[in-house]
């Protein structure tokens, strides 16, 4: 664990309110974006990332410092998102997720871009949650396999296999979009 993380954890354990503010400000964007890309819903992303901070704060006693603070926060967020997606999939199987479409007039290329983003988001959301999290942590958060393995609480080999399968599925599903692009 980094020295800055260690100091922050120590302050948090002493109940320092400003340390909690620092923790939130430092990681809020990363956790919110990860949750948003997994759920494709801003409201869910806000709730899930806030819940991750609360769980981290309340579970400080369980944080042994073997992983970094960011790895620990990502792990809590990923677990919350995976559990949320599983619940959502079992409750509204077959329904198309709400994407909060903005129907205001926009230039043609922007509309095309939105369609492409929508199709990519749709394809990613169809991946199994473990593969989805692995792909997003690798591509968007640029994390090494070793750290993703710590977040996913699995081996580096499993992470590599998940990533490989995720990309292979997307490659097949997005073939039409690549040809258009």
């Amino acid at each position: 664990m980094k020295e800055a993380d260690r100091a922050l954890v120590s302050q948090l354990r002493e109940g320092d309110q400003s340390a909690f503010d620092t923790l939130v400000r430092q990681y809020q964007r990363d956790l919110f974006r990860l949750a948003y890309r997994m759920t494709r819903n801003a409201e869910d992303a806000k709730d899930l990332s806030q819940e991750a901070f609360l769980r981290a704060y309340r579970g400080l006693g369980n944080f042994d410092g073997r992983s970094s603070l960011s790895t620990w926060l990502y792990r809590i967020t990923v677990n919350l998102c995976i559990s949320h997606l599983r619940q959502q999939r079992s409750s509204d199987a077959g329904e198309v997720p709400e994407t909060h479409a903005d129907l205001s007039p926009r230039p043609l290329d922007e509309l095309e871009a939105r369609e492409i983003h929508g199709a990519v988001g749709e394809a990613v959301s169809e991946l199994p949650p473990q593969q989805q999290a692995t792909l997003l942590l690798r591509v968007h958060h640029r994390l090494p396999y070793r750290e993703i393995a710590e977040i996913m609480e699995s081996s580096e080999g499993t992470v590599r296999v998940n990533y490989f399968h995720a990309v292979a599925k997307l490659r097949a599903q997005l073939k039409g979009l690549r040809d258009d692009a």
């Binding site: 309110q17 909690f20 503010d21 939130v24 400000r25 809020q28 919110f32 974006r33 948003y36 890309r37 801003a42 806000k46 806030q50 901070f53 609360l54 704060y57 309340r58 492409i116 983003h117 990519v120 988001g121 990613v124 792909l135 690798r138 591509v139 968007h140 396999y145 990533y163 490989f164 990309v167 997307l170 490659r171 997005l174 073939k175 979009l177 690549r178 692009a181």
Partner: protein, 172 residues
């Protein structure tokens, strides 16, 4: 190495995750093999599409509200009234509370035990009276036994006395 083997390493190649030697070998193959080159291009485009997946950039006011909500959720609960607070302390620390309770009980009990004027515990029942009667009979018997012993002693005394008197006579 066959194309299939090279293709299994393409993702690592695109990610820059191969060793320098493996990277150079695959790169050399790609210059010679249009099929593998096409595959590499498809992978790069797929990853680029994923990388362009948008996420909202909320304004600063959103983050202020976000933090305010979190602060409220982690804030300590409001103070309980005095009795509730006391009960909450007891339930939160059951072992020390139990120890104090036992100590208090023992202190009261021992004080009561050592008091000369302690109140009767219960009224005497017929069974208790009967037991006491038996005890009193036993006492009478014991007294008689003592008396018998005394009589025996007296008899012995007489014998001793006679021996004492007779003793000097024999000597003379």
């Amino acid at each position: 190495m066959e194309c299939e083997a090279y293709r299994s390493k393409l993702l690592e190649y695109v990610d820059g995750d191969l060793t320098a030697a493996a990277h150079a070998e695959l790169e050399a193959h790609l210059t010679r093999c249009p099929g593998c080159r096409e595959e590499e291009h498809a992978l790069r485009e797929t990853l680029a599409l994923v990388a362009r997946m948008p996420a909202p950039e909320p304004p600063e006011v959103f983050w202020q509200q976000y933090l305010r909500e979190l602060r409220q959720k982690v804030a300590p609960a409001p103070r309980l009234p005095r009795l509730q607070n006391w009960l909450a302390t007891l339930t939160a620390r059951p072992i020390p509370a139990l120890a104090v309770g036992i100590a208090l009980f023992l202190a009261v009990f021992l004080t009561w035990q050592s008091s000369p004027e302690r109140p009767p515990i219960r009224e005497l029942t017929s069974l208790d009276l009967a037991q006491q009667l038996v005890l009193s009979q036993d006492l009478d018997m014991l007294r008689e036994m003592d008396l018998l012993e005394e009589i025996d002693l007296l008899e012995d005394w007489e014998l001793i006395q006679s021996r004492i008197i007779e003793g000097p006579r024999k000597a003379t």
